[in-house]
């Protein structure tokens, strides 16, 4: 697993208070990890802060799973 993926996983575990084993790439923040809409806003902010990237509102809305977050950040970092 990439460094980015590791870090994303860690942030999700911390913010949503879920067990690490549940944070699979396919896991949906809201459907599988118990987040509500405010949690996802906070999560995206935490990603922005940790990876020093800007995630605009329309992109943030499309980040619904762990994999979505990893992919988006990896793409930003590669660019």
């Amino acid at each position: 697993m990439s460094e980015i993926a590791d870090k994303v996983k860690k942030i999700v575990v911390e913010h949503l208070g879920v067990e690490e084993s549940k944070v699979t790439p396919e896991a949906s923040f809201i459907d599988d990890l118990g987040a509500d809409s405010l949690d996802t806003v906070e999560l995206v902010m935490a990603f922005e802060e940790a990876f020093n990237v800007e995630i605009p509102e329309d992109a943030a809305e499309k980040i619904t799973t762990v994999k979505d977050a990893i992919d988006y950040i990896e793409k930003q970092k590669a660019a």
Binding site: H15, G17, V41, E48
Partner: protein, 436 residues
């Protein structure tokens, strides 16, 4: 009290005789004397003191450096381990005053044994928990984030963390109580107003059960500095914190801030009886008034306090002869003597038989939670026939015929108790409770 006034009281008692009765079936406290009603009460009666050096932040450059903070530690020792009450992941979504409210509300609801099963029962159970100030530290932290040019990084939980009515919100969500969801903000009178208003909702038929009280957590730089600027806090006892809160004593020099929460479960009497609930006492009187005088100081003679107490007596259909114990507002400020004067004037000859103490001498002033914590102390004073002490009352600044229970608790018959709370803005509230 004149015969005419007595007749007036009897008349109002007659008018109230048909109303629904409201009893207390659950209680919870977390505060400077610790966690748990029985633990806090036994420490209070033993003359223990919850005031110490401020530990939550470095207060060394502030004039006031003492406070009544909630002790942290194992539950068996009557201390608070927050994660046992509020899940760690949820803690950062709420200011500390909400944590306090949730702890005391959980305790009170569990103590009451009330678990509504049907939709109807849930809709007949409401919450009215207030706070004097709300999420001050949260607002401070968020202000810094914005000031640093990081407004876009502000937590989405900032607003719901700071809002005063969110204690009521969280308690309702936790237990599924779908009845009236309300909150009170009347500075240091909040706790009494919340219990009094919630009792009236039950009397009026809006609910059968109400979780009511106050929560506060402003032992933070902004809170201490703000009350310091208003010249309200004690500053002369930083080296001897346990002597700082000294109601009516000639050396008192301001109040000591406390933090925590007091919550009661109020219930319609027949409802409580039908389910075999344990009944601690009954809310029989409630009175309110406004000074219309000054933003922080009570008027000469404290007529606002006088009128709040008189109005509470009227709503209870009682006279001063019926009151055995007064839990004073008594914050350890210059206003203590004005309250004393108002009680003396109202009680007349009955003052000689009265016990009145200020438990803030042991807990500090819990602001919006004070009235609720002290209502609980008043109920327990009746249950155990014990008047809790006024610590540090070495030399009263003003003599009185009223026994102010200096230093040690007194065993004495207490059937009916009155509890006073007054707040900035000139708001006054008195509550009368009795055993059942």
């Amino acid at each position: 009290m004149s015969n005419g006034e007595r007749a007036g009281l009897l008349l109002s008692a007659g008018m109230n005789s048909g109303r629904r009765r409201v009893v207390v079936t659950g209680m919870g406290i977390v505060g400077p004397l610790g966690l748990g009603v029985e633990n806090v009460w036994s420490r209070l009666i033993a003359g223990e003191n919850g005031i110490g050096k401020i530990s939550q932040f470095d207060a060394s450059d502030l004039p006031a450096q003492v406070a009544g903070e909630v002790p942290e530690g194992p539950r068996e020792e009557g201390k608070l381990t927050l994660s046992e009450w509020v899940p760690t992941k949820d803690q950062r979504k709420m200011d500390r005053f909400i944590h306090m409210g949730l702890v005391a509300a959980t305790e009170a609801v569990e103590d009451s044994g009330w678990k509504p099963q049907t939709e109807e029962e849930k809709c007949r159970t409401g919450v009215m928990i207030g706070s004097g100030i709300g999420g001050l530290q949260t607002i401070y932290d968020a202000s810094i984030t914005v000031h640093e040019g990081r407004a876009k990084r502000l937590s989405p939980f900032f607003i719901p963390s700071a809002l005063i009515n969110l204690v009521s919100g969280h308690v309702s969500i936790k237990y599924g109580f779908q009845g009236p969801n309300h909150s009170v903000v009347t500075a240091c009178a909040t706790g009494v107003h919340a219990i009094g208003d919630a009792a009236r909702l039950i009397m009026f038929g809006d609910a059968d059960v109400m979780v009511a009280g106050g929560a506060e957590a402003t032992v933070c730089p902004l809170g201490i500095a703000g009350f310091c600027s208003a010249r309200a806090l004690s500053t002369g006892f930083n080296a001897t914190p346990q002597q700082a809160s000294r109601p009516w004593d000639k050396d008192r020099d301001g109040f000591v801030m406390g933090e925590g929460s007091g919550i009661v479960v109020l219930e319609e009497y027949e409802h409580a009886k039908a389910r075999g609930a344990k009944i601690y006492g009954e809310i029989i009187g409630y009175g309110m008034s406004g000074d219309a005088y000054h933003i922080t100081a009570p008027s000469e003679g404290h007529y606002g306090a006088y009128r709040a107490m008189r109005s509470a007596l009227q709503s209870a259909g009682l006279t001063t002869a019926d009151i055995n114990y007064v839990n004073a507002h008594g914050t350890s400020t210059m206003a203590d003597d004005l309250e004393l004067e108002a009680v003396e004037r109202l009680f007349g000859d009955d003052a000689k038989k009265l016990a009145m103490s200020s438990t803030k001498s042991a807990t500090g002033h819990l602001l919006g939670a004070a009235g609720a914590v002290e209502a609980i102390f008043s109920i327990l004073a009746i249950r155990d026939n014990v008047a809790p002490p006024t610590l540090n009352l070495d030399n009263p600044s003003r003599e009185s015929v009223i026994d102010r229970v200096a230093h040690t608790a007194q065993q004495r018959p207490i059937n009916v108790a009155l509890s006073n709370s007054f707040g900035f803005g000139g708001t006054n509230a008195s509550l009368i409770v009795r055993g059942v």
